[in-house]
Subunit: 338 residues, 2 copies
């Protein structure tokens, strides 16, 4: 490691002058500043980032906690966050909660101890208590939640209107003539699975279709396997179902796989709408009609808001929390009629 | 932020005693140590990690550079790395090179300036010069390469035997009776696309099938779209091809989509073998025979080796570079006969 002392000795000037020159202080002559910079570069001098952090009280890193990395939507979000952070000179530490509240809690503790400048989080399905999130705010660390959020926590949020999107998905099934529409819903806790369920229900009611709770299947881990399992279950429980709105594409793809295997014709016998627009949705056969959820943009937006809050905090401005709602659209494909 | 001073004042003891107590020094009485720890915990005291870094000369973070995050194989690798790092108390900063050499160079500079304790990298396709990698080693920062590596760089590497795996894939096509076998290969530079091509060629030669360079298509970005494009190109160029070994699953899935669209029967008319075993390979129709590439294990292994090298460096032991070669296997599915 090259030190300021070595540069000073090489140029036969004081360490203080070297230090000032590198910070571009005007009380060092232009000529000396130039000479010091050139020498530093030649010697591959790197400022000690630990000392810089200590002085500036900034780490120029942020923490990101997501439930699952190997997941098309979340990896798109990560990509959006990282691309934007890099532009602003921030590095991103990523942690995976595995949908576990306990792990999420520990990870927040870890990030706070690490003194990251801000935290981005999408909650685990298991998270029902928000004390660990309040701790971030009490610690005066900017926090932005995205996708799976807790409404009661006071911070900025980047979401889609899950209720509206689910309404749109269900309305499409009604518009193409479906009368008995099932819903594969997500777990009870995350706000987005509640909202998608409510959007489904509202669309039925607004179209004078009576809500039948036996048509709603509560999923646990939202996996491909669960999609297969509940598609089979549905065939046994309700022979008359002609449409399904499914909480996420991975589950919908599992369901399509099962229906294909059992010789059920999609969309002739059952119409299917998914949610998220995973890449896979466009390549499976039949391809999947779904709600396009803009992961990359969500990541970019979440970082932008966090960045502004970090800046505002530094400049001792008061932080104004924002709810940013991104637009979604219905992508029509082969799994629904027309 | 709670300081040591506040703890000291509260207990009416010296700051030095508090500091020693928190570090569990035996010259502070057991009783005092316990009291200090309890008080620190009650006041939510967090050590200043910047000062700790400066003292220990460690950041307890590592850097990870990969070409692309939204990619089943690489996101599996990230997951493997993060899961293992967390166990050992390390945080992971992830950067995406976008297959760009320039970006990769800048990112390494950034990570070295940040003083990460070690770097894990899978090279961009555009990387032909390795000076930026040598700089990591000259900087005395442990480096482990995985998947897309540079053979000439002196560091530990975690790879699969791409040549052997490609040989196995091609041999399978020969074993089921294919006589004219095409290859969609990756770009010229990355070692893994060279090795997969060489494995393909060797299998042909060992089976007395003459090598025809017009059957080898050089791909650029290895995308779904390229798979569709070259599937169509192949149909125009060579009507007699009965098997294809494709460098990666995403491209193979593009090819299957195009063949399906044009009414070409798989495997009756063309047998296809992919590489990597993306999740999608199991759900597309027909499902894809492919080489299973263990991404999660590769990530875990790469971190384990890096961790050992960080530890050895700290203990001033000499570092012995290792080449770790992970096993692959051929997963038989519907896209090849039998």
């Amino acid at each position: 490691m090259v030190t300021l002392k070595q540069i000073a000795e090489k140029l036969n000037i004081s360490i203080t002058t070297v230090s000032k020159a590198l910070k571009d202080y005007p009380d060092v002559s232009k000529k000396t500043r130039k000479l010091v910079r050139e020498t530093a570069s030649m010697l591959h001098y790197k400022p000690n980032s630990f000392a810089v952090n200590l002085r500036t009280k900034e780490s120029k890193t942020i923490g990101l906690i997501i439930p699952e990395i190997v997941h098309h939507f979340f990896s798109s979000v990560i990509k959006g966050i990282i691309s934007q952070a890099e532009k602003k000179g921030y590095l991103v530490i990523t942690l995976q909660s595995n949908e576990s509240y306990e792990l999420e809690k520990q990870q927040i503790e870890l990030l706070l101890n690490k003194r990251v400048d801000g935290i981005l989080i999408s909650l685990a399905n298991g998270t029902a208590d928000y004390k660990h999130l309040s701790e971030i705010i009490e610690n005066d660390t900017p926090l932005v939640m995205f996708d799976k959020i807790a409404k009661v926590v006071k911070c900025s949020k980047v979401i889609i209107d899950d209720r509206k999107a689910a309404y749109k998905a269900t309305q499409h099934l009604i518009d193409i003539g479906c009368k008995r529409i099932a819903h594969f819903r997500g777990p009870l806790l995350p706000q987005n699975s509640i909202d998608r369920f409510l959007g489904y229900k509202q669309a039925l009611l607004d179209n004078n279709i009576s809500y039948d709770s036996s048509l709603v299947y509560l999923l646990n881990d939202m996996s491909f396997e669960e999609g297969k399992f509940y598609a089979n279950q549905l065939l046994q429980d309700h022979k008359d179902v002609d449409g399904i709105f499914i909480n996420t594409d991975l589950v919908a793809i599992g369901a399509i796989t099962e229906f294909n295997k059992q010789g059920i014709k999609i969309p002739e016998q059952i119409n299917i709408v998914g949610f998220s627009n995973w890449f896979m949705a466009s390549v499976i056969s039949p391809s999947l009609t779904t709600i396009n959820q803009p992961g990359f943009d969500m990541g970019k937006k979440a970082f932008k808001i966090l960045y502004k809050e970090i800046k505002d905090k530094k400049e001792k401005k008061s932080i104004v929390y924002r709810d940013e709602i991104l637009e979604t659209d219905l992508v029509l494909r082969e799994s629904t009629k027309n």
